[in-house]
Amino acid sequence: MTTELLIEQVSKAFPGVQALNNVNLTLTGGTVHALLGENGAGKSTLIKIITGVYRADSGALKANGQEHFFESPIEATRAGIAVVHQERNLIPDFSVEENITLHNPPLKYGIVDRSERTRLAKQALSTIGFDIDPKERVKNLSVAQMQLVEIAKALVTKAQIILLDEPTASITNTETVKLFEIIKLLSSQGTAILFVSHKLEEVYQICDTVTVLRDGESVLESKPLADYKQDEIVDLMVGRHLADRKIRIRDIDRTGQPAMELKDVRTALGHETISMSLYPGEVLGMYGLVGAGRSELARSILGLYAITQGEILLSGKEVKIKNMGDALHRHRIGYVTENRKEEGLFLDFSVGQNISSTILARILDKLGVINRDKEAEIATKFVDRLGIKIVDNHQLAETLSGGNQQKVSVAKWLAAETNILIIDEPTVGVDVRTKAAFHELIMELADEGLSIILISSDLPEVIAISDRIMVMNDYAVVGELENTKDYPSISRSIMALIHSA
């Protein structure tokens, strides 16, 4: 008997939103099933209902002969369901190996069998080709590394049903390729896999069947993916036809004074003689494999880590940036972090308050009182502009879907109206439509004179919007390219730079 997971007429409401509305989905063993939809369509909610994190308002679930919803994640695990949630859910103080085996730690006489644990973890890590010390504490890992640990954790349970909620959002191609190999292998062995992603190229690469959610309704239910073209799928997700994007090559005037310039900068973290210049109105892409040190460079520039040597010039003047406040208020530089949950958002604050957190100085009345109207006005402006799906400005950030949280984290810095903006992985988990709009927005802002450093592990994204691309590897700059926006040739040059380093 092949594994089956049946979802029938499932509904779920949150205050102010019908997150799911009579959704159906059939997941069969041996297939990879894509679950698609825009941000806030209800994908993660569905996965959480399947795994017993939320309780459905109505509907039915059948899995492996069981005919009821799981009461808790434990039950789902026992029933042979493994899941990688959209957000990283690891125990920071535990080692990698322990996190991987957390569901079911190997015991011997009631005592944790450490060598067996290491063995299991190593095995799981090696299947996805992730080379890391299993004894390292998770809190020392980067977001991408944590994501890989999550995947290893799901794989180690040898589950019959695997649900993957945007597993590739924050990892690079190399790891994605490895992941796909293992997905294919498992699928061929009869495992049922549900795959959520906003990267349609990937979806077409690996999935067999597809379900599309739009505003909580399943507008396409468990159909063969091959029957639909990418455009059709997008139309289904968005509910209308999405215009084709045109490649736009922008002309940047690099004769004048750079907006920001680094001269032979070394950092306490180990960056070596980094030199770069960013011109007014330019989008400078920064690409590198995970751990190349891009985010760290950005943070060092902003004064979070020490610069040990070299100088930073803003519009030709040498500056010492002490901290983020200094960067924002004195030098008008902004920074969108790659880690929205820990560093970008105030989860227990409203969307409006999150957006206004960088511009409090600008929305004051006399007496230092915050002008609520102005605050709401600015919030609304960016909610509209980035298509953030919310009930109202007062909704807490914690209740937003992953992609919408990401948008808030970016909106906060767009609102700040800086001269220079460093954006780190801005579109992690953002859906196709918004991503396109977003790219457009970035270029528009650049047209208006904003200088942007774009750090992204999404190569197509880097190529789509950068004017120039700086390639980093192992805490050093290994090369720089003028971006012709011709994907095949540019990507080849970039990979060549990385591998020759």
Binding site: S72, I91, P92, I132, Y305
Partner: protein, 327 residues
Amino acid sequence: MNLKSFLRHRMTEASLTLIFILGFLALVATSQGVLLSEESLQSFFTYLAIPILIGMAQMVVLAVGQMNLAVGAMGGVSSAVMAVLMADHKFPIWAGLLVGFLSALAMGAINGALVVVTQLNGFIITLGTMTILLGFQYRLVRTFTIDQYPTSLSDFGTKSIGPVPYILLISLAVSVLLSLYFTRTGSGRRVLATGGNPLAARLSGISNARSVFIAHTLSGALVGAASIITIASLSGINRSIGGDWMLSSFAAPIIGGVLMAGGTIAVYGTVIAAGVIRLVDIARAQYSLDPSIVSFTVGVVVLSTVALSEWRRRGSERQHVGRKVSA
């Protein structure tokens, strides 16, 4: 794990050990060796046993990110139960101690159950139960000091191997077991996982409710153990017992490196921190220090030592961050 990374993880414990050794040596030197006499050492160790245990009792609750404000009241009630049963109801020693111990365990379990059922903050629950228990303690012993229980119990309290009293050995043994529980057993790891990240723990099939319940119950059991030691080492039980446990129960683990946020334990750190605190008592007796000066000095010393170790830890972490993790 090499020495460097060991020290990085254990910076607090390492510096506390150093402080302890230096402080101890300083006291030995300035007391012309009196501190090394068997009697002095015995006094030193005897009154170390209880701070260690109540530190542990707080630590296990801190491990799930909660607090137990009722440690003192629980200890007061359970030792009063023991005393009353043995003195007034002529229970044999073992039975008196057992019932008292179980009562502490039950109090812990009730705390845990209340936290789980009402979903109220553990801070508030234990504040409430603390008040209630203080009432019970008064009911049990009123304003008297009860000591009419068999002397063999207090004999046991003063027995020692060399200068090391049995009761300290019991404390240390309990600490070792606790350490094994948290580092080696599935249950202990799950409790820590709950403290480290409750949501992640839940998604990994761990019942946070059970972890919280276990932590509070364990805390009760440790308080019960502390009560046994209390009644064995004290000359009597009255309503003042447990009065100074609450703050010191926090001080040892937190100075020892346990995070208030949960998810960490530091058994050795707690023990050694209790030792450092004990050195202060000795210094007070040794130099006939005015308590106001002692308080003042303790305050200042704690501030500076912890600041120092923290500063060094951060220094070493700063160098480490950003380098490759790969094996």
